[in-house]
């Protein structure tokens, strides 16, 4: 089972890099935003200190919540999932491989953001590696499951971008990726507080920049993770309707 999952994981890695558009959406976009906003905020350390952990959080969302619906809906609608289901590969091995693939992308992006933050944007090495790992892992788990749940709701591949962006763009806009979420109007702040990303970013920010503890935010993340898990499993479809 683990051997099967590992081979599938390595196949996913290979296919990922052979598909330039997927690699772009999942990988380059957050880093492009980091470069652009980093240039805008150049010399303004207060904003850069918000931007770097914000982009780190966005990278996690991008590698999971954005990438998984594209992958799952495409494979489902094309009939690849159905074909895989007809082979002896255990479903758990396959889904585990997909999850590990998303974790790898998130980890690589996080590493790039941290290095870039240190090299170009005046943000030091993270002070609290444990908190960084915990919040990154919590974010990956939460948004991977929410991404899988979202994939279940998407009726066909053509509408994937609409569904994903309708959730992703407002989410990053209000969750303090590009500015301090505390500066937002109260009603937007309240919405953001009810969603998981702002708490993941708070945690990353505490670990990477401010040193402030944000552990209580994990409760919200955990609730969304549980909801995502239930919806992802219950609604999972191996084939097109």
């Amino acid at each position: 089972m683990i051997e099967v999952a590992w081979r599938q994981y390595r196949l996913e890695r290979r296919m990922f890099w052979r598909n330039p558009s997927a690699a772009f959406f999942n990988f380059v976009l957050p880093l492009l935003f980091l470069a652009l906003f980093g240039a805008v905020f150049a010399g303004d350390q207060e904003n850069l200190d918000v931007l770097v952990p914000g982009i780190a959080g966005m990278s996690i969302v991008s590698a999971t919540f954005v990438a998984l619906p594209y992958t799952l809906v495409f494979l489902r609608e094309e009939g690849v999932l159905k074909r895989l289901r007809g082979t002896p590969m255990p479903a758990g091995a396959y889904l585990g491989a997909l999850a590990l693939h998303a974790v790898t992308n998130a980890a690589i992006q996080l590493a790039i953001v941290i290095v870039a933050g240190r090299a170009f944007f005046g943000v030091g090495w993270p002070d609290d590696w444990l908190a960084l790992a915990v919040f990154a892992a919590a974010g990956v788990a939460c948004f991977a499951l929410l991404g899988a749940a979202l994939a279940n709701a998407i009726p066909n591949f053509e509408s994937t971008a609409a569904y994903v962006n309708a959730a992703f763009l407002p989410l990053i806009a209000i969750s303090g990726v590009f500015y301090d979420a505390d500066d937002a109007p109260a009603f937007l702040r309240d919405i953001a507080e009810a969603l998981p990303l702002v708490h993941v970013i708070d945690g990353l920010s505490g670990a990477m920049v401010t040193g402030e503890s944000a552990w209580s935010g994990l409760v919200v993340v955990a609730l969304w993770t549980a909801a995502g898990g239930v919806l992802a499993v219950r609604g999972f479809r191996w084939e097109a309707r």
Binding site: G79, R83, G86, W238
Partner: protein, 286 residues
């Protein structure tokens, strides 16, 4: 005496209030090529997908190699190959790469090179799948289904949308499966395909099997049809008879007596096509 490779008893499947399969029975012996033939919507694909483990049945008993496919046991999936209808595949892998990955999913795979030859993909091993033509992709479907060296192969409309040459190639592949001793269950709405490939055929209509037998036997019991052009009226006449000997004698001696050729004479037995059209037609013949 081997148990049948596939056994179906009183199988029912409903989608909501629509009854797609309404109580069918058939067996497929080991090594047999069995065809489910019928128009679109007859319930062929539903039946096959229940046997493949993709759909749950509403009622009845099904067994494939002694397993209940509804439970989707891994031991069964290791011994079954599926050529799905319109199934996609990873686009960014080369043919050989994909087949090698697939082979490792099975405990006793066939040699990948052998499968490439068997499926007619020699020369395409290094091609990315997204660059393959429709016919080549279908061959890849066969290859993916064969690489695990299955005992039972399901082919759901294996040649729909093929040009004539591609069909012949696909038929050759199915025949080679039979030569390898595989049990094959295929669905088709092409009569010539059923006739060319199948040891036995079940004709399905509206969720039921209307008849089952060897393609040649399905015409047996039906009447000979003798047709000729009438010398006086110039119109084509025909008559159906159990034994055409006497009628032919009459016709030929009359023509000889007149000293005229007997034009447009034909003696035919109903082909599978006639049987099929008879059985699946809505209109009742008088």
């Amino acid at each position: 005496m081997h148990a049948p490779a596939i056994l179906v008893r009183d199988l029912h499947k409903s989608y909501g209030s629509v009854e797609a399969v309404r109580g069918i029975d058939f067996d497929v012996a080991r090594g047999e090529v069995f065809g489910l033939l019928g128009p679109n919507g007859a319930g062929k694909t539903t039946t096959v997908e229940i046997l493949e483990g993709y759909r749950e049945r509403t009622a009845g008993i099904v067994s494939v190699l002694g397993h209940d496919p509804g439970q989707r046991p891994r031991a069964l999936r290791e011994r079954v190959g599926i050529v799905p209808q319109g199934g996609g595949i990873y686009r960014h892998l080369a043919v050989r790469e994909l087949l090698e990955h697939w082979a490792r999913l099975y405990p006793r795979p066939r040699d990948v090179d052998e499968v490439i030859d068997l499926a007619g993909l020699r020369g395409k091993e290094r091609e990315r799948t997204r660059r393959l033509s429709g016919g080549q992709l279908r061959r890849l479907d066969f290859a993916l289904a064969l690489v695990g060296d299955p005992e039972v192969v399901f082919l759901d409309e294996p040649t729909t949308g093929f040009d004539p040459a591609a069909r012949r190639t696909a038929w050759q592949t199915v025949r080679s499966l039979a030569d390898l001793g595989k049990t094959v269950l295929l669905t088709t709405h092409y009569l010539d395909e059923a006739q060319a490939l199948c040891d036995r055929v079940a004709i399905m209509k509206d969720g039921r099997i209307v008849t089952v037998g060897a393609p040649a036997e399905l015409g047996v019991g039906a009447l000979y049809r003798v047709a000729w052009r009438d010398a006086e009226t110039g119109a084509v006449q025909s008559r159906e008879t159990e034994d055409p000997t006497g009628l032919l004698h009459q016709l030929t001696s009359a023509a000889l007596a007149r000293g005229e050729p007997l034009r447009d004479l034909s003696v035919t037995r109903p082909s599978l096509e006639d049987v099929y059209l008879d059985l699946t037609e809505e209109a009742v013949r008088d």
